[in-house]
Symmetry: C2
Subunit: 393 residues, 2 copies
């Protein structure tokens, strides 16, 4: 029996109308004999609102209680979607992360999945039911409720697809799939119909918000084909799979080619003189760093501006030795194979962007990464897309 896991993010289930519409679309696209597992996030803004409430009550809410609070968000969206499916004439049942057997470590707020034991889902599928699962949440060895942190719901979906040996995992979101660049900023950006885990991982780490790196890594480890597609149109989107299973190779022989351009805007750069208390603080810091670099005693952290208050607070309370702080930066990454040992790529790039202020250029095995002033982001993105994607053979 073919099993398909479909995941709907917060904006896809952001209102009663949207939930009804999703239920309707699921009903009309439902294939005879296909078993469905639907993983949902909390309705858009619910999590933020719950967080706001918690911080209204306490300046330092306990992570355990926060997790109890936040997991109510998916509980709401999953039961509403189940009710909407009943209206469509389907038999459906909703499960929390714990009921679904998403086992995690004990790190509240940023737990990692350690195992999946979704026998209840399998039982219900066997009875012909559509199963709806709360994404983003799990249960620790001590039976405490945990949340998975960023990228959590996508990771829940991929983990369940792996356990259930699903034929496919579909991530429904508010974009049509993975583009050669962000179509909101680059008018000529094209949808990429097929991409391999390798390049998708580089894109995800470079700021592409379509799929979180941890979900890509999970899919890659367990070889789960994942389709990223629009929850509004349900149209074919981007199929992510192993390079060996791709239908159309995007590069030929030893071609050196940029496949896509990722970016991340709204970045702040902190530079600290390294000292033991800073290291201790880093160990406890439960958020992501976008990029870091340590050079000659100075630790540079490039982070999203939403963490600014938190870092500033830490900085003052701990008395870190600040070397420099600056904003607003944007990062652009050219992603492709074979582009890095070649000095010509670097030289062409320096030529191409010579009228802009480039703060830094660095590279990895399949990215070339630029840090620029946020003001130049759109212009640079379009110029790079034109040169390396539109005009490239």
């Amino acid at each position: 029996m073919a099993i398909v896991v479909k995941k709907f993010g917060g904006t896809s289930v952001g209102s009663i109308e949207l939930i009804r519409s999703i239920a309707h679309k699921i009903a009309i696209t439902h294939q005879e004999g296909e078993s469905l597992v639907l993983v949902v996030s909390a309705m858009a803004k619910t999590t933020d609102e719950l967080m706001r409430l918690a911080f209204e009550i306490s300046d330092h809410p306990s992570r355990r209680e926060l997790d109890m609070l936040l997991t109510a968000g998916e509980r709401i969206s999953m039961s509403l979607l189940s009710l909407a499916l009943h209206n469509e004439g389907y038999s459906s049942i909703s499960f929390t992360g714990s009921q679904s057997g998403i086992l995690t470590d004990a790190m509240h707020g940023n737990a990692r999945i350690t195992d999946v034991n979704a026998f209840r889902i399998r039982e219900e599928l066997g009875k012909g039911k559509i199963v709806i699962v709360a994404g983003f949440q799990g249960v620790s060895p001590a039976k405490e409720i945990t949340t998975l942190g960023r990228g959590g719901s996508d990771t829940s979906a991929v983990a369940l697809a792996s356990y259930l040996k699903a034929d496919k995992c579909e991530i429904f979101t508010d974009v049509d799939g993975v583009y050669t660049a962000d179509p909101r900023l680059v008018a000529n950006a094209r949808l990429i119909p097929e991409i391999d885990y390798e390049l998708m991982l580089a894109l995800a780490y470079s700021g592409s918000k379509v799929l979180h790196p941890r979900a890509v890594e999970f899919a890659y480890k367990y070889n789960i084909p994942v389709e990223i597609k629009s929850s509004f149109s349900f149209a074919p989107g981007t199929m992510m799979r192993s390079a060996s299973n791709m239908e159309n190779r995007k590069t030929f022989m030893e071609d050196k080619k940029i496949t896509a351009i990722a970016h991340k805007d709204g970045l702040i750069r902190y530079q600290f003189n390294l000292e033991p208390k800073l290291i201790e603080s880093l160990k406890k810091w439960n958020n992501e760093i976008f990029r870091y670099r340590f050079v000659e005693g100075v630790l540079e952290l490039v982070i999203e501006s939403k963490y600014e208050n938190e870092i500033d607070h830490l900085m003052v309370s701990q008395g870190f030795d600040l070397y420099d702080k600056s904003s607003v930066w944007a990062s652009i990454s050219l992603v492709g194979l074979g582009i890095n040992l070649d000095p010509v790529f670097l030289a062409d790039l320096l030529d191409l962007l010579n009228e802009f202020h480039i703060e830094s250029i660095s590279h990895s095995d399949k990215t070339i990464d630029l840090l620029i002033n946020s003001d130049n982001l759109v212009e640079c993105l379009n110029l790079l897309h034109k040169t390396y994607i539109e005009e490239s053979k």
Copy 2:
């Protein structure tokens, strides 16, 4: 009919005794019904010796004539190996890169493979012959002889395996396979029996000399399983394949794990103030850069010391604005999945290495890269291996 491509590097065919021994081992391991293609490099030191002769005649030998000269190297090793196989009672025939249909662009000294049309090899295999092919060389559209540059012979072998739809490509070399760290420097390093393209590519770009990145990229694009093994023992080595075809996954669920540690010693760092003539020069520079970084107008190139004279010469003749030059650096890269958005890894690393001078730490999507004083290389490698590989669950 199963086709196997076996490639022997320069040290594997470095003497008449070694060539005889290879021929003998091939004869005794040859399976009934298996077709063999043997790709060979020039005998060790032959290329250097030919280069020396060329530079004795001319300070600026033409790249075209150099390619004519250097390709004699593989011509010697391939015909000697063919003769040795005749002695073992086999029918064999040797082909140059051109005769083998390795088509390249016109970049003498650093050509890229653009297509393969190895019909002559297929014909001879059909007659039951063992085919021996000169690695590292090809032919341009204008029918000029080209050489492929670094990693060329491995890439020839993988490209032929792809054209012939070979069951396997075996790279015979002077090490037993891919290790968790260089076993010459880290006594406790372990052989990795199986690795995926993704991590191998990161290792190759980070200094692991076992396989050149371009050969890994080619194998990855065309999904060629490649075994790296010892030309002395012929024992099972490291199998490189797609993660989805791996027999044993090395990480579980969302584990964050360092798989291996790569390093590169003998590095020089140049820092130049950026100017147009430097960019023009980079465009023409036909060698690899190990790492580069551009920060606030200063271009930093980290290169192998063997290029030092060449760069110094360029620097003086072009009058580049040198900001700083320093040596001898070593690079160490921790390679694994899921290690990068996590501040804890960085903090632990800073703690662990606090008694050493760390020049810089940076990262990519699956590496954490350190630049240290060459003097500390062995001690740091062993400490990191002990902490992240031996003592890690």
